[in-house]
């Protein structure tokens, strides 16, 4: 405390050595806000607080359900995290999901009704009454998943190339992609869902690997609905992706170069970082994540759906930013995004439990994301010593 004026030095020692209470509270609050686990603490506190009023939240069936809701959003948010780290933004992920979902349906569907699908421009060529291209083929699921991811990466490549080669702002490029590809997906199917996907595919969204039964073991046969999912296929997909993504960010040259680009692109360029290549690859990764998320969501819905990601944009960016990944670039972690997704999923769950209307829920979501952006700005201000960046 060198700033204490001389004439106060005769004051009792205790007040000089320990700062006053408000100051300590302020410091504690600041520390909490700057902590990387801030949002995890917040999630837990929020959930416990709300469950005092809605005890059903704590029931095992609800918890298990929430757990399965986390994975698809995490899958896609990891891609957004990568893009935000390099100080970009990918608004097109929702439309990538839509296109990929349609692609999946076109390959996998086992039978289609002429009266529903015959308006589609694909009817008669790729889609018939016998279903999609690989209807019934044993390798269909593998091909579909790979192709969905590849289409996502391809759209990411288009985004990335437009951004790096023509120096167009990411916001504009991906906004146009969003409009174009969602319209294209709807055009391809004339807004119909491509139904009848094989069970081996549905498993990726709905199937359990490990499930638990918490009731008494009265009968040898347990009803399917009473089983609680613990480890699902989508969990395995999302966690595997998360581990790979974490590894890329924290251990590889590529990851380091991403942070450098997000922090100061010019300095990175002069330091020999292949900025264009890295940026393009990151957008490809983001598209691929959207493709993978489309696998999980489509398998859950049991259909190739051309409007799949329509209302998801806010959730994706909201969850990522709430986790602490900065909109200004250079900062972000997979773990943070996991926390953000957990928070967002819990938030939606509690809002649903409160029986709010979809519009009210959207309003709350919007406010929460605004709050997250405010926290981001405030953190940055603390870190830059009071000046607004």
């Amino acid at each position: 405390m060198t700033s204490v004026p001389q004439r106060l030095s005769s004051a009792p020692r205790s007040t000089a050595s320990t700062p006053p209470l408000p100051r300590r509270l302020w410091n504690a609050l600041r520390g909490l806000l700057l902590s990387e686990y801030f949002i995890l603490y917040l999630s837990i506190a929020y959930f416990l607080l709300i469950s005092l009023f809605f005890p059903t939240l704590l029931e095992p069936s609800n918890l298990s359900n929430q757990l399965t809701n986390i994975w698809p959003l995490l899958t896609i948010a990891i891609g957004q995290t990568f893009v935000l780290i390099i100080a970009g933004i990918d608004l097109s992920q929702g439309s990538v999901m839509a296109i990929c979902s349609v692609v999946g349906g076109v390959i996998l569907s086992t039978s289609l009704s002429k009266s529903v699908m015959s308006n589609s421009p694909l009817w008669g060529t790729l889609l018939t009454e016998k279903g999609g291209i690989l209807s019934g083929d044993p390798n269909a699921v593998l091909v579909a998943v790979l192709l969905m991811v590849a289409v996502g990466a391809l759209i990411g490549f288009i985004n990335g190339t437009a951004i790096t080669r023509f120096n167009m702002p990411p916001f504009m490029v991906t906004l146009v992609s969003l409009l174009f590809f969602s319209a294209f997906a709807i055009y391809l199917t004339q807004s119909r869902n491509i139904a009848n996907l094989p069970d081996s595919f549905l498993r990726l969204g709905q199937g359990d690997i490990v499930s638990v039964y918490l009731g008494e073991k009265a009968t040898p046969q347990i009803k399917r609905t009473e089983l609680l999912s613990l480890v699902t296929y989508s969990a395995v997909i999302a966690v595997a992706l998360g581990v790979v993504a974490h590894f890329i960010l924290s251990r590889t040259v590529f990851g380091r170069q991403m942070y450098a680009i997000g922090t100061n692109r010019r300095a990175a360029e002069i330091s020999g970082v292949p900025t264009r290549r890295v940026i393009t690859l990151v957008y490809m990764f983001s598209g691929a994540c959207a493709g993978l998320a489309a696998v999980i969501y489509s398998a859950r819905l049991g259909a190739g759906r051309p409007t799949l990601g329509d209302n998801l944009l806010l959730d994706i960016i909201g969850a990522t930013v709430i986790g602490g990944t900065s909109l200004f670039g250079g900062k972000g972690k997979v773990l943070w995004t996991l926390f953000g997704v957990v928070f967002f999923t819990l938030l939606l769950n509690t809002l649903n439990q409160m029986r709010l209307s979809a519009f009210q829920i959207d309003a709350v979501k919007g406010s929460v994301i605004l709050l997250a952006a405010l926290i981001d700005v405030t953190r940055n201000r603390f870190l830059t010593g009071g000046r607004v960046a």
């Binding site: 251990r251 590889t252 040259v253 590529f254 380091r256 170069q257 942070y259 450098a260 922090t263 100061n264 010019r266 300095a267 990175a268 360029e269 002069i270 330091s271 020999g272 970082v273 292949p274 250079g330 870190l383 830059t384």
Partner: protein
């Protein structure tokens, strides 16, 4: 003679270093005062003090006999002081008339917000453009104008504000000879109307032909102020250079070899550099001196592969480079310490170690998926940090921006050391760092040279180049205009070359103007 603006013992220091020291100056009413001095002599700071951008630490000013204490630039404007800057402050997307009246649109009575009186604006604009002899329609957008015409719009804007003192800061840098001549005519016409002008320029002959009085600044102090007749070009240069400050430089311990590391042959890029020939040998420190805008930084960027060049050859280690890129330059063992640490040199918010490791990440990766060999990288980073004696906390955690300027510069150098370069391009490596840190940077440069590396040392401080270099190459207006070996280092001669003092052809061009 009456003074319009009087400065009384004005001082301004930044972090304890005086930028302007005890300056007392009378700006005579209705005259043109020429203000000259080297880069960093304090001219710009002085003008910022007059313009209300900075507040003086000590001293006072009077304007038109009344005390003048500008707190913001708009105080200066309302007092009647206008600036014409090197970089113009016009909105190129707006029309000439809108630019002239920006901030004071003529209003129609009774319509406080919507009632811009376009007719009055047009009428008055025409009159103002007439006064600066610019024959274009006030409605045309500024982006259609040539640089010289834009300058005239700036002057018209100053006239609209009824400026009684107009300060011209290097107004001719981007103008052609014809535009320059026209500008000077307008300036003389303004003087006849009774407007007072301060004219800052590096082109000494222009100052001699235009100014009524000349003031010379050096190291923040006003060292001469007298009527024009008492000056000639050589006296102006001697005054600007001075012989006071002798900095200490670490002694060179090695001598350069004759093995060329880098050879440039006829490098040209239209409008940027012209026919550049230059060699840097192993173990040699070559100084590149030039005034602002002489093309020295642009040349450095071309060598490093950041900008392209139209013709010429870059030869590195005996091999002609056809296509240059930053990564190729790094492979060819070139390092580039940029002029601008904050924007181009460092990841300010990242850890020191992160910064030092950045260039060489691929060198410290395991084969395959390019996983960073963290222990090996950390060792190398730590070694480089120690070698350059970077004073910091934990380099893995402390952010680069928490360091002093000198230590930040060492981080930039350390970053390049890891890529084991043999040629260092250093653009203003000691700018904005204190004397002690400068000495350390000089020592590092000497060590690099002693180890057989070549250094291309770009600076606008002649003294440091004279203290450090084996040779000094002088650039002026995109060309190499002279070269000095250590034996014939001479401050005045180097500065003369940079000012193109010998180029009497072009200088005489202006001097012959009828005053």
């Amino acid at each position: 003679m009456t003074a319009l603006l009087t400065l009384q013992s004005i001082s301004k220091a930044f972090f304890g270093v005086y930028a302007v020291r005890d300056v007392t100056l009378n700006v005579p009413a209705g005259r043109i005062l020429g203000l000259i001095g080297q880069n960093g002599a304090g001219k710009s700071t002085l003008m910022n003090l007059i313009g209300g951008v900075l507040a003086p630490d000590a001293g006072s000013m009077t304007f038109d006999g009344k005390p003048y204490v500008p707190r913001t630039p708009s105080d200066a404007v309302s007092a009647g002081i206008a600036f014409i800057h090197q970089e113009l402050n016009l909105f190129t997307n707006l029309s000439i008339a809108e630019n002239i009246f920006l901030g004071a649109f003529p209003q129609r009575r009774g319509f406080p917000f919507v009632g811009i009186d376009r007719a009055a604006m047009r009428r008055q604009s025409e009159a103002l453009l007439e006064a600066v002899d610019l024959k274009v329609k006030p409605e045309s957008p500024v982006e259609q104008l040539a640089p010289g015409e834009r300058q005239l719009v700036e002057i018209a804007k100053a006239l609209q504000l009824d400026a009684r003192l107009i300060i011209f800061d290097e107004p001719t840098t981007s103008l052609t000879t014809r535009e320059t001549r026209k500008l000077f005519e307008i300036m003389q016409r303004l003087r006849e109307r009774g407007t007072t002008l301060i004219y800052i320029s590096h082109i000494l002959n222009d100052v001699l032909s235009l100014a009524d009085e000349i003031a010379v600044m050096r190291d923040g102090e006003l060292i001469a102020h007298a009527p024009r007749v008492e000056f000639d070009a050589s006296r102006m240069i001697s005054l600007m250079v001075g012989y006071s400050l002798d900095q200490l430089f670490p002694p060179r311990t090695s001598t350069p070899t004759q093995t060329p590391l880098l050879t440039l042959k006829g490098i040209s890029q239209p409008g940027i550099v012209k026919d550049i020939g230059l060699t840097v040998n192993a173990g040699e420190v070559v100084g590149l001196f030039g005034l602002m805008g002489s093309g020295r930084t642009e040349l450095a960027r071309i060598i490093f592969g950041l900008d392209s060049f139209a013709s010429g050859e870059i030869v590195i280690g005996g091999e002609v480079l056809r296509h240059t890129s930053v990564r190729e330059s790094i492979r060819n063992r070139i390092a580039f310490v940029t002029e601008n640490r904050r924007e181009e040199g460092l990841l300010m918010t990242s850890a020191i170690a992160e910064n030092i490791g950045l260039v060489s990440l691929p060198r410290y990766a395991l084969p395959g998926v390019q996983v960073v060999d963290q222990p090996r990288l950390e060792r190398a980073v730590g070694q480089a940090a120690n070698q350059l004696q970077i004073k910091s906390g934990n380099i893995e955690r402390q952010a680069a921006k928490a360091l002093s300027g000198g230590n930040q510069q060492k981080v930039v150098i350390a970053k390049w050391l890891l890529s084991e370069p043999s040629l260092f391009i250093m653009d203003e490596p000691t700018r904005g760092i204190d004397v002690g840190a400068k000495y350390e940077i000089y020592s590092i440069i000497n060590t690099l040279a002693a180890e057989g590396n070549g250094v291309l040392f770009i600076s606008s401080e002649i003294e440091e180049l004279m203290g450090m270099c084996d040779r000094i190459v002088v650039m002026s207006q995109g060309e190499i205009y002279g070269e000095f070996t250590r034996a014939d280092f001479d401050k005045e001669a180097i500065l003369r070359t940079a000012f193109r003092e010998q180029a009497t052809q072009k200088a005489g061009d202006h001097a012959a103007d009828p005053a």
